[in-house]
């Protein structure tokens, strides 16, 4: 299967995109979201209001699979504010497969009384507004939220994120050291969430709970910046 690279925007492109969408959108929640996310690309990461986001889904294909739960935890480089976390479980249209049940530890009973994604989307975006989102592997979070937005509001949706997997790739996939390693025939270092955390001495968490993974992602970004970037690094250099 050929690797399809989604379109990426540069720092200034993101800024223009957000300004434009704020003016055009017909959805109240998105207007707030775009206004709040209108963060200057030169804002130092240490001052940025960050929000770790993780979605658990029924599978990896946004056209066929659906969101099952959403976890968010606001943080800064110095503190992850666990008490302000939010968590939603939503009811997908297609029933959960046994495999994804074991994967997410969310059961049919949990989902039975849960709302549809459209019913909570407003609330989710209100909670996200004003923050720069941080995810591990942006192609899941961005694509599934886009799909949900199209269904709920008939609007496409994109937004800048700091992708901790992509920051890891810069070091372990694109650096000259990584190339040397590849050239010498050794397998590339894994940049999955858990494996990346181990490199920074972060503890092992039981993954696949949207809140735990959001927390794990926030901790990873703190560790990555502490190890590889100055706190003054502009967010425009980190987002994608």
């Amino acid at each position: 299967m050929p690797l399809i690279r989604p379109k990426t925007r540069s720092a200034t492109d993101w800024h223009d995109y957000l300004v434009q969408r704020r003016q055009q959108t017909q959805v109240g929640a998105l207007e707030d979201f775009f206004a709040g996310a209108d963060l200057s690309p030169i804002l130092p990461v240490a001052e940025a209001p960050l929000m770790a986001l993780d979605l658990e889904t029924t599978g990896l294909d946004p056209r066929r699979d659906e969101i099952v739960s959403i976890g968010i935890v606001p943080f800064s480089l110095s503190r992850i504010r666990v008490s302000e976390r939010r968590y939603w479980v939503v009811r997908p249209r297609r029933s959960l497969s046994a495999k994804s049940v074991t994967f997410h530890r969310i059961t049919h009973a949990d989902i039975e009384g849960a709302p549809r994604i459209e019913e909570v989307l407003d609330e989710v975006f209100k909670a996200l507004s004003g923050h720069l989102l941080v995810v591990h592997y942006r192609h899941i979070e961005r694509a599934f939220l886009d799909t949900a937005s199209r269904k709920a509001w008939q609007e496409t949706l994109s937004f800048p994120v700091i992708d901790t997997m992509s920051l890891e790739a810069r070091i372990h996939r694109q650096s000259w050291l990584a190339r040397l390693r590849r050239w010498s025939g050794r397998p590339p270092a894994s940049i999955r969430l858990h494996d990346s955390r181990i490199r920074y001495g972060l503890p092992h968490y039981h993954g696949h709970h949207a809140l735990t993974d959001a927390l794990a992602t926030a901790e990873l970004l703190q560790a990555q910046v502490a190890s590889n970037y100055a706190p003054e690094t502009p967010i425009g250099m980190l987002w994608s």
């Binding site: 479980v89 972060l202 503890p203 190890s227």
Partner: protein, 632 residues
């Protein structure tokens, strides 16, 4: 759906002091923490910064230092820090630095206050005013052995029994014959006897009641009944009994509730013995008392040597019954003294009476009544001044040899420093001993005292006690006047320092070195004993026991208020740790020693040991300040 972060709560719940919190409170803490990552070598708390949170180490390692940069503590996963500053004006007093990449959970001050308010065990753990050690001891004392020990342990023989158709005279004869004070009364079995027993011929009997000494007085003699009265006519047909697996405490309560002094102990329906109220009262010290009694019944040194396993068993039993270090130290010293005494009696029986009066003197831990199960013999002979070496020394050398060899076979190994009565230096008349002590005290050299400091714990074991008491008086009177002597002793006492504590699987030394085990005697109890001895000598105390010395020190203004309590708790904890680890060794059929390995140390013990070492370290600093080296 619960929006809990299980990762946080579950981790906190595994570590003290969070492990004692209710689920509800634990959830609340977990959902309010703030998290932060610190790269190795970065500062977590800067000196004098405002402190607004309690810090909990989720992963990594943290070094806490003093204001002057000296290492104060090394902490790892599950440890907390910052609570001292949090409770005192919120300025960081002990800066903290990440030694490895570290993840910290911050617990806000209001949440910290709430935990202190709502959980006693939490506030006990963090509170400075009431040190942790102290509260642990009170806790231990509260659940002492009476709750844990089962009543069957107090039963030492099968009950005496008699048929209901026997006469009271026969019953009285039966009691006298068996030296018992109560007899169970048996009758033909009824329909459904509550308690019954099958005799050797297979016949089943019903137990209908108990007849005691008191019953004979009140219900037989007092009523003027004839000796031929049948037992069944006087016995009360009401039997109060306990099951053998009830606790000693329950048995005692049962006696008090029913106002009885004899309590039959049953295994299901069958009697296994009768417990008397005095058995329970005697219970705490009983095991060692019996041992001492039987030491004096032994006819020879060989028989004494066979009792060594009993000493170990009594030791293990005392620890399991929840005795404290003073009870254990005293019991083991009493046992050691009894061995010594019996060996001297046996020697005198064979060698004849001594040609001049003497006193056999115990030194070191036996003199202090702090003997442990791992001990060697330190002793000496103080002879009357009428002693004439040419005429009498042959006798006393033989006496000393028999005691020393005898003790060695009983498990008290020979003194490596040759401080034993077999050494002619330490087998001298009182006048020579006085000169020894005057020399040590008036012309002290730390090197000389290093060898002889053991002589400053001294006590009479057998013979003419006044000989040793004169030496104790001499020390109490002369020592306080010689500050150079005290300084020299202080210098020796500072030679052995405690470690910082434990970290993961090794012992942390102050200089940052690691060790795999720690000798709790050399690094804990012995330096503690040394420093308390100096303070005690400085205030003219005649006490030999460390705790009694602390009592004497308390009556002076020598130590700041509260300090001696801290030392007492630290000493008790160090001693008990050492004792507990010796029991672990014995239970694993290993030769007990004074070492403990960090992997055998529980988490709470680790915290307390750290506190105890800290108390010792502070006390050593004070000693150094009080007796500066320049005074030599």
């Amino acid at each position: 759906m619960e929006a809990e972060l299980l990762e946080i709560g579950q981790h906190l719940g595994r570590f003290a002091p969070f492990d004692t919190l209710s689920e509800e409170l634990l959830d609340e803490v977990a959902s309010h923490v703030e998290v932060s990552y610190f790269k190795a070598d970065s500062m977590i708390l800067e000196l004098d910064a405002m402190q607004t949170d309690l810090c909990y180490i989720r992963s990594g390692a943290v070094e806490v230092t003093r204001r002057n940069g000296e290492l104060y503590n090394l902490l790892g996963e599950g440890d907390i820090f910052g609570h001292f500053s949090l409770m005192r004006h919120n300025k960081v007093r002990f800066p903290a630095r990440a030694m490895e990449d570290t993840l910290i959970y911050f617990i806000s001050e209001p949440m910290f206050q709430k935990l202190c308010d709502e959980s006693d065990s939490f506030s006990d753990f963090v509170e400075v005013e009431r040190p942790r050690l102290e509260s642990t001891f009170e806790g231990q004392r509260r659940d002492n052995d009476m709750m844990a020990t089962r009543v069957r342990k107090l039963v030492n023989r099968y009950p005496v029994m008699i048929e209901a158709n026997a006469t009271v005279q026969q019953a009285a004869q039966q009691l006298t014959e068996f030296q018992a004070s109560a007899v169970l009364v048996l009758d033909e079995p009824g329909d459904q006897p509550r308690y019954s027993i099958k005799d050797s011929e297979g016949k089943v009997w019903q137990i209908i009641g108990i007849l005691t000494d008191t019953d004979f007085r009140k219900r037989v003699v007092g009523e003027g009944l004839s000796p031929s009265t049948l037992v069944k006519e006087v016995v009360r047909r009401r039997l109060i009994a306990v099951q053998s697996d009830e606790s000693v405490q329950e048995a005692m309560l049962c006696m008090l509730r029913n106002n009885i002094h004899h309590l039959p102990v049953m295994h299901r329906r069958a009697p296994v013995g009768i417990v008397h109220l005095s058995d329970i009262i005697r219970h705490e010290t009983q095991s060692s008392l019996y041992l001492v009694n039987s030491i004096f019944d032994q006819p020879s040194a060989e028989c004494l040597a066979r009792m060594a396993p009993d000493v170990q068993a009594a030791f293990v039993r005392m620890v399991q019954d929840g005795a404290d270090s003073q009870m254990i130290g005293k019991a083991l010293s009493t046992i050691g003294r009894s061995f010594t005494r019996r060996l001297l009696e046996l020697a005198e029986e064979e060698l004849g009476p001594p040609p001049v009066p003497y006193c056999f003197m115990a030194l070191g831990s036996m003199a202090r009544n702090e003997q442990s199960i791992v001990t060697d013999q330190d002793n000496a002979l103080v002879l009357s001044d009428r002693f004439d070496p040419a005429a009498h020394d042959e006798y006393f050398l033989e006496l000393a040899r028999r005691v020393s060899d005898g003790l060695a076979t009983c498990g008290y190994s020979y003194c490596k420093g040759d401080i034993m009565a077999t050494n002619p230096l330490w087998r001298q008349p009182l006048a020579v001993w006085k000169k020894y002590f005057h020399d040590w005290i008036e012309q002290p050299s730390p090197e000389g005292l290093l060898r002889s400091s053991i002589f400053f714990d001294l006590d009479a074991v057998y013979g003419d006690n006044s000989l040793v008491e004169e030496l104790q008086d001499l020390v109490a009177e002369v020592a306080p006047q010689h500050k150079r002597f005290l300084s020299a002793m202080a210098r020796n006492a500072l030679g052995r320092t405690p470690p910082l504590g434990f970290f993961r699987t090794f012992v942390m030394e102050k200089d940052g070195k690691h060790n795999n085990s720690i000798n709790l005697k050399r690094r804990g109890t012995a330096p503690m004993v040394d420093l308390i001895r100096i303070h005690a000598m400085a205030c003219g105390s005649r006490a030999q026991n460390t705790f009694e010395r602390l009592d004497d020190i308390d009556r002076t203004q020598l130590l700041a208020p509260g300090v001696s309590d801290k030392l007492r708790y630290a000493m008790e904890f160090l001693s008990m740790s050492r004792i507990r680890h010796q029991v672990i060794d014995l239970e694993h059929e290993q030769v007990p020693d004074n070492n403990i390995e960090p992997e055998n140390v529980s988490r709470s013990e680790r915290h307390h040991l750290k506190d105890a070492f800290q108390a010792l370290s502070n006390a050593q600093k004070f000693l150094k300040f009080r007796y500066p080296l320049s005074q030599r």
